[in-house]
């Protein structure tokens, strides 16, 4: 087990109203597993991802990465945690517009301890022929694959993806998901993929359904559904 969250609660104070984004959530992320976090908008899945990704702190509860409690780390400690162990894939790619695909990846590998070559990472996502293109010269799907290459190139233990297909059409979305699956297969990186799209749920080893800040259901897939069979 690589990540262990216990009794996580998060309360946002919005003016005079308290919003309970998470209510005493327990969650484990297994070594090498691909977990899908499913839920409607406002179900608390992003809050959960932010906390396990070291971007936010819970109001109550603890998160252990291996044997370290993230709650006890200060801002700099969380930065180091993200820097060494976590990769992020965003809904809107967030590539650096002034850097080419290769340079976007290199930006991260230059500060990593034991990275892949940027070219290998881009090859893994099928973009070896687009390495010297700038973001503005690429399609959304291509940009998202660069973002995945950038996230995996530093060889993180955990990859967190927040609605990675949210801005893409079906075919492109499936291509991106297949890349994620392949990365999981070949590198053994533990992954958590957030989505509100139930159709995607089948691609993971485990599906965690969230609702109103609580885990409503955990479903273990005996086998992953091939992406060709997924449609939405």
């Amino acid at each position: 087990m690589i990540l262990r969250a216990r009794a996580l609660s998060k309360v946002y104070h919005m003016g005079e109203v308290d919003v309970h984004a998470l209510r005493s959530v327990d969650l484990d992320l297994e070594e090498g597993e691909l977990m899908v976090l499913l839920g409607a908008s406002g179900s608390g899945k992003s809050t959960l991802l932010n906390i396990i990704g070291g971007l936010d702190r819970p109001t109550e509860g603890h998160v252990w990465y291996e044997d370290r409690d993230l709650v006890e780390l200060d801002d700099d400690g969380l930065t180091e945690y993200r820097r060494r162990h976590v990769g992020f894939v965003f809904q809107f790619y967030n590539l650096i517009p002034s850097l080419t695909a290769r340079e976007n990846v290199a930006l991260v590998t230059e500060i990593a301890e034991d990275p892949m070559a940027p070219e290998d990472a881009l090859d893994m996502v099928g973009l070896s022929d687009r390495m010297d293109h700038f973001p503005a010269q690429m399609s959304g799907g291509e940009q998202q694959r660069v973002a995945i290459a950038r996230a995996v190139a530093k060889q993180p233990r955990i990859l967190l993806c927040d609605e990675p297909t949210g801005a893409l059409d079906v075919e492109t979305g499936k291509l991106v998901l297949s890349v994620l699956q392949e990365v999981n297969d070949t590198t053994g990186t533990s992954m958590a993929v957030i989505t509100h799209n139930a159709a995607i749920a089948g691609m993971g080893d485990r599906v965690v359904r969230m609702s109103s800040g609580e885990i409503a259901e955990v479903e273990v897939n005996e086998s992953r559904t091939p992406l060709e069979e997924i449609a939405w």
Binding site: S46, N50, G53, L55, D56, D76, T79, E80, Y81, R82, R83, R84, V86, G87, F88, F90, Q91, F92, N94, I96, P97, S98, L99, E103, N104, A106, L107, V108, E110, I111, F134, P135, A136, Q137, R150, A151, D162, A167
Partner: protein, 787 residues
């Protein structure tokens, strides 16, 4: 309040840092214009009023002795309006508790009534009693420095006789607004006073009963002053006329006029720089603001706001910043202007000097500021107005990048990705980076040009008082003495070396150009006083021919090898052709030098000297000085070393004040440019930087990406600023070149380094303020939202 105005106010408040920094740039510009132009107006008005009031002369001419009838003859010269004759003399004062020698300029006033020209203002006490022999009026500065009141007395050695004079009043005159002792450079109110004495009393002391030795006159409107001067010279020639000179060459007037002219030039140049910087900053800030408010603009338009209303809304931001700046600048200018004019009041005595803030000046300042606001806002407002609502609803397309020309040279390959990011951001908007650099460069340049003036002044004074004038004491005699006087001086205890000189008024003619100067004759082996150019090269005293200042040679259009026609203006008034054998790039005054032997041959009258240069042992100096002060044959004793010390003291004080002001001015610009530049970069790339933070970039690393661009802008600005500073310094040198002094164009490495260092410090401080915002980037927001 309308909703759109609420939007204006709230957003102004949100952008207060940026708006304030722009307002400060404007305020500095307005403060300078009000202070300097207001100062100019005030001084010019006071000067004009004073001159009119006292019937200030247009032309002065000194002569040896002329009967009163000559004045009437001069008044008949065509073009002469009014003539007044008088007796003037320089005499030693016997002042208690004063190091060095007191000196007084004595000027006669008529037996009856006021002087026809160059009248005086009695500020305390009374006018001289008719027929009084020992009554004098003294000038205000001297009275103040010595604590003299009407009823006190002063002892003076008039024509070799010690007299006790009764001070009956304190008076001032425009002739002595800036009272410089003979042979001096600065006012020395402790030791130098102006005394007005009855014509009969002064005339009889100097054997000038019924005669005079100075004429002052005014030129009729429309008459050619040069022509008048030539005619007057012709008339007084046989009375030992020493050459008439116009008001422009009158010391007090000239010093004041130079100051006024400088103020006029600077009061236009400096504010122009500031307002251009402000316009540029507004252009940046508003341009960015409109880019981020595209959708808001679209919504406004979709609901029917007219283009003009949208345009007015954004123009209002510019006007708010500039309006605040103009208001602060006006307050600053009114306050600083008072202080500025007071400062001048300490040097120049004017009866009616007060700081004038004329309405036209306020209107002009406001108008020019509004123009700068318009200029800065123009581009941004136009793009807001021209944005079609449907297009504006869509977010701005992502910026396109490509490797720039600099990177294609191969620099890119050796840079890490972060370096390439910085480089490409600069290369994508080269104009913005270039203008930012130019702005910061002006900040460097302001510091360079401000501090250079001190470098130049120090060099000039050093050359004059350590290299050229190496004597400890400079003597002038009442009248020419036999050259054997040197043996008497040599015998004085403590005197280690004596060199004598002769100085003779001459007119030098080259073609149709002519010029009157004191021609000095130095010993051929002269070591205490030398002829040295600004490159430090010593030119030996020529055995035959003359060496003159470059300034004088240029005025006469003379070159080495030319033959000069020299008319001696004293004694037998001989004329002779003399070759110009050398031209020296000296920095103070204008000199024409020959060997003393050759000069004696030219003038006739035997081997005589008009003064001496002495080397004196340090511990014997005050003894020697006071002994000489009591010698009737000695007219003046000056100490170049004391002059240099006074200079250094005054310089030290004004150096710190100037640097404080310059630093303020320069910081306002560099902070304005760097702070706004960083804020805009943060606004444009905040999302990019936040996502890097999510991916584990440390705060410091992200700050480097953000501020690297500003660092390059600043570093590029330094050599550019040095260059601009050098150019401005050259302009200053050209505009300050005068007969009195010529500041050399020499900028010390220290000045360059300090200018760069202070600018970098201001930039680092601005960057640091923005860096704190990097620490507050919202990391979660970037996961979800699209720009």
């Amino acid at each position: 309040m309308r909703a759109i105005d609420r939007k204006l106010w709230r957003e102004l408040w949100r952008m207060k840092g940026q708006m304030f920094s722009i307002a400060m740039v404007v305020a500095t510009g307005i403060t300078t214009v009000l202070t300097m132009r207001g100062g100019y107006d005030s001084l010019a008005a006071a000067q004009a009023e004073y001159y009119a009031d006292t019937r200030f002369a247009d032309v002065w001419v000194s002569l040896e002795r002329a009967p009163e009838a000559v004045a009437a003859e001069v008044s008949r010269v065509p073009g002469v309006a009014e003539v007044d004759s008088r007796v003037t003399a320089v005499a030693r004062l016997d002042l208690p508790d004063v190091e060095g020698l007191g000196m007084g300029r004595f000027v006669s006033i008529p037996r009856e009534g006021r002087p026809r020209l160059n009248d005086i203002h009695v500020v305390r006490g009374r006018w001289l009693a008719p027929g009084a022999r020992d009554e004098v009026l003294v000038n205000g500065k001297f009275a103040e420095a010595r604590g003299l009141q009407p009823g006190d007395s002063v002892r003076a050695i008039l024509n070799g006789r010690l007299r006790t004079l009764d001070v009956v009043g304190v008076a001032n005159s425009p002739e002595h607004s800036y009272a410089v002792p003979p042979g001096g450079l600065y006012p020395d109110d402790e030791r130098y006073g102006v005394f007005w004495m009855g014509r009969d009393a002064l005339g009889s002391v100097y054997d000038l009963d019924g005669a005079f030795n100075e004429l002052v006159l005014t030129v009729a409107p429309g008459a050619d002053p040069e022509h008048v001067i030539a005619e007057v010279d012709r008339v007084v020639e046989r009375y030992g006329g020493q050459g008439a000179y116009p008001r422009e060459d009158q010391v007090s007037h000239r010093v004041l006029q130079t100051e006024l002219d400088q103020n006029r030039v600077m009061s236009t140049a400096i504010p122009t720089v500031f307002l251009l910087v402000a316009a540029f900053l507004l252009h940046l800030v508003l341009g960015r603001m409109i880019a981020t408010q595209r959708t808001e603009i679209a919504v406004l338009k979709a609901f029917g706001y007219r283009d003009a209303e949208v345009g007015r809304h954004y123009l209002a931001f510019a006007l708010a910043a500039i309006g605040l700046g103009a208001a602060l600048g006006t307050i600053g200018g009114a306050w600083l202007g008072e202080a500025y004019v007071d400062l001048y009041g300490a040097f120049f005595v004017f009866p009616e000097l007060e700081f004038l803030l004329r309405p036209y000046l306020l209107l002009a300042a406001a108008g020019v500021s509004a123009l700068a606001a318009g200029l800065g806002a123009m581009g941004a407002v136009r793009s807001a107005v021209e944005l079609p609502p449907a297009e504006a609803m869509r977010p701005e397309p992502p910026p396109t990048f490509e490797p720039g020309p600099l990177e294609r040279t191969g620099v890119g390959r050796i840079l890490p990705s972060a370096g390439r990011m910085i480089l490409r951001n600069i290369e994508r908007r080269p104009m913005r980076a270039a203008l930012s650099s130019l702005g910061v460069a002006f900040s460097v340049a302001i510091l360079v040009v401000g501090m250079f003036a001190f470098d130049g002044a120090v060099y000039m004074m050093d050359l004059q008082f350590r290299v050229i004038q190496r004597e400890d004491l400079t003597l002038t005699f009442q009248e020419s003495l036999s050259a054997t006087v040197r043996y008497d001086l040599d015998r004085l205890d403590g005197v280690t070396r004596v060199e004598t000189y002769r100085s003779v008024p001459v007119r030098i003619r080259v073609g149709h150009r002519e010029r009157e100067v004191g021609l000095q004759g130095l010993d051929e082996d002269s070591r205490l006083r030398r002829i040295v150019g600004q490159d430090g090269r010593v030119i030996p005293v020529p055995t035959r021919g003359m060496v003159m200042s470059r300034f004088l040679a240029d005025e006469l259009h003379a070159e080495t090898g030319d033959t000069l026609l020299v008319d001696v203006l004293i004694g037998e008034r001989r004329s002779a052709f003399i070759p110009l054998v050398g031209v020296v790039d000296d920095l103070m005054g204008v000199t024409a030098t020959m060997s003393r032997a050759a000069l004696n041959d030219l003038v006739g009258g035997g081997r005589v000297v008009s003064g001496a240069y002495l080397s004196v042992l340090d511990d014997r100096r005050s003894d020697v000085q006071s002994r000489l002060a009591r010698a009737p044959a000695v007219a003046t004793v000056a100490s170049p070393g004391t002059m240099y010390d006074t200079f250094e003291e005054t310089l030290g004080e004004s150096l710190y004040i100037s640097i404080a002001f310059l630093l303020g001015f320069a910081s306002v610009i560099s902070v304005g440019v760097i702070y706004n530049g960083s804020r805009i970069a943060l606004s444009e790339r905040g999302r990019e930087l936040a996502s890097l933070r999510v991916m584990g970039f440390r705060k410091g690393e992200v700050s480097v990406l953000l501020l690297g661009e500003q660092a390059i802008v600043t570093l590029a600005a330094i050599p550019l600023g040095w260059l601009i500073g050098y150019g401005l310094a050259a302009l200053v040198v050209a505009s300050l070149t005068s007969e009195t002094y010529r500041i050399p164009l020499m900028i010390s490495p220290r000045t360059y380094l300090v200018a760069a260092g202070l600018t970098v410090a201001a930039a680092v401080a601005s960057g640091w303020v923005v860096r704190r915002r990097v620490n507050r980037l919202d990391l979660i927001e970037v996961l979800k939202t699209r720009e």
